[in-house]
């Protein structure tokens, strides 16, 4: 049986005496869109930092496409594409130059990189912007370029940390539709957000609060009769 795109088992992390994550279990099955829902400060970014091995978890195990992140970090990271909350493209370089750089970081040779760049830019509908400097792109286009960057190594798992932050409603919808479309091509997605509108009824949802998973299930089931917003507020005690 094929291993899930991501398995997080009993993961905890502390910054000194401050506990940021406690005993988190999370699974992203292959080809699925999984939402990680939580208010600001819930621990989403910390969890992403652990999954991308920016630093090591103090307890538990993380596996990407079956590869243990601590034992085989190279193999695990090679299967990963990441869109961080803060924009990570070099604004002085063109879209193509940025993508070529990230292809190189994954050890992808020039000829293959050229073909991949054309492929991912077509996927995110930015083929006509390939030669433009990133600084000249709109916020939504920059976000799509970030997604193209994350796809350059053909990852099994795509992580997106509040990828629609700072975008207008239209761009937000476009980005979300683009990412949901990727699952049809077999890419698994972990989508971290605090915006409830971005969750569909059939989505697999994890609610993270104060560093722990409070609830997990299909959004429709979690919402019940009251709707997802009320259920979320009731669980987290957050203000409406």
């Amino acid at each position: 049986m094929e291993s899930p795109a991501l398995e997080v088992q009993g993961v905890g992390h502390a910054f000194g005496h401050v506990v940021a994550l406690r005993d988190v279990d999370l699974v992203v099955p292959r080809g699925r869109f999984v939402a990680l829902l939580g208010v600001n400060g819930a621990g989403k970014t910390t969890l992403f930092s652990l999954i991308t091995r920016l630093y090591d978890n103090t307890s538990g195990v993380i596996r990407v496409a079956g590869h243990d992140l601590r034992r085989a970090p190279g193999k695990a990271l090679a299967r990963l594409g990441v869109v961080f909350q803060t924009r990570a493209l070099d604004s002085d370089l063109t879209v193509t130059q940025n993508l070529a750089y990230h292809a190189a970081l994954h050890g992808i040779g020039r000829a293959t990189a050229r073909a991949r760049i054309a492929e991912v830019l077509a996927q995110v509908d930015l083929a006509d912007k390939a030669g433009m400097r990133v600084a000249a792109l709109s916020g939504g286009q920059q976000r799509r370029a970030e997604i193209a960057r994350a796809l350059i190594n053909r990852p099994d798992l795509l992580l997106l940390d509040e990828a629609t932050t700072g975008l207008d409603v239209r761009s937000r919808r476009e980005v979300l539709a683009l990412v949901r479309g990727l699952t049809a091509g077999g890419v698994s997605v972990l989508w971290a957000t605090h915006i409830l509108d971005e969750i569909d009824a059939e989505d697999d949802v994890y609610i993270l609060h104060q560093g722990a998973v409070l609830a997990h299930g299909i959004a429709r089931d979690l919402a019940g009769a009251e709707g997802l917003t009320r259920a979320f507020l009731a669980l987290t005690g957050a203000e409406a």
Binding site: F15, G16, V18, A20, T45, T46, S49, T52, R53, L54, Y55, D56, R70, P73, G74, K75, L77, A78, L80, V82, F84, Q85, T86, R87, A88, L89, D90, D92, L93, Q97, A100, Y101, H102, A103, A104, L105, H106, G107, I108, G109, R149
Partner: protein, 270 residues
């Protein structure tokens, strides 16, 4: 990602990006040259009359102060370049660009070394531009010295770049960088043999002499000075090599996801 071919691609990619940034930021290149040129054209001219220099290795005869100070200014370019790289790493960390580098499947020490080498490459270009201007100012080492100095520049650039890398891992915010200038760069530069020979320093203060003699920057300067005049100073070579090993190991430790202190403090994530 396995094999040397993949690692070569990663290395080439990182150097290529730095070169592109360098080309896009031509102002940075000019700014990096202004500082040593001010020292060469103004400071050295003023001190020429005041500061007498006896014959001291590697020089075979009395030399003008401009000649003496030029290797120190080459090292100064590399020192500031190392700190500039450090500054850009802190900036990259704040903007998120650093994260994309560190989530590459290549080992972290290799990523840091590649970034370091890219910075050294840029600093050597700056040093050669400076040496060309110095040549026009009548500072003319032996022709072969321009070639012999390359390995010295690589090693001193690596040591100073590794120091910058280590410093970048300890700085939380860009605002803290002014402190680095005041407490690290300036003392390192002035308490060295860059501007005056150590025997001069010994005449005025034994303590200062020892501080200068133990300063790794002094040895980077002397390594460059000797190489530029086709000589080899084993002490400077060993100290510079050792300095590189220590600073780089410290930087790798600090950037290590399991051991380093860098990622363990809340709000300092990459």
């Amino acid at each position: 990602m396995t094999g040397w071919r993949a690692w070569t691609i990663v290395f080439r990619g990182i150097v290529w990006r730095e070169a592109l940034r360098f080309v896009n930021q031509r102002g940075r290149f000019v700014a990096a040259l202004v500082r040593p040129l001010v020292w060469l054209f103004i400071f050295a001219a003023g001190f020429r009359a005041v500061l007498g220099l006896s014959i001291t290795p590697p020089y075979q005869t009395y030399v003008l102060y401009e000649v003496y100070v030029t290797p120190g200014l080459c090292a100064m370019i590399q020192l500031f370049n190392g700190m500039q790289s450090s500054l850009s790493m802190v900036y990259d960390r704040e903007t998120g660009a650093m994260r994309t580098l560190l989530v590459s499947p290549a080992p972290r020490w290799f990523l840091l070394l590649s970034k370091l080498m890219a910075g050294v490459f840029v600093s050597i270009l700056q040093v050669y531009a400076f040496l060309a201007i110095a040549w026009a100012w009548d500072v003319r080492p032996p022709a072969l010295g321009y070639l012999a100095v390359v390995p010295a520049l690589v090693l001193s650039g690596l040591m100073l770049g590794a120091l910058g890398l280590f410093v970048s891992s300890t700085i939380r915010q860009l605002e803290n960088f002014a402190g680095v200038m005041n407490f690290l760069i300036f003392p390192m530069f002035f308490a060295s043999s860059a501007l005056y020979p150590l025997w001069r320093m010994k005449e005025s203060s034994e303590l200062l002499y020892w501080i200068c003699a133990l300063n790794p920057f002094t040895h980077a300067v002397e390594l460059i000075r000797f190489a530029l005049y086709l000589q080899f100073d084993p002490t400077s070579f060993l100290v510079t090599l050792g300095g590189f090993a220590v600073f780089f190991a410290a930087a790798v430790f600090m950037y290590d996801p399991a051991k380093g202190l860098w990622g363990r403090r809340k709000g300092q994530a990459a």
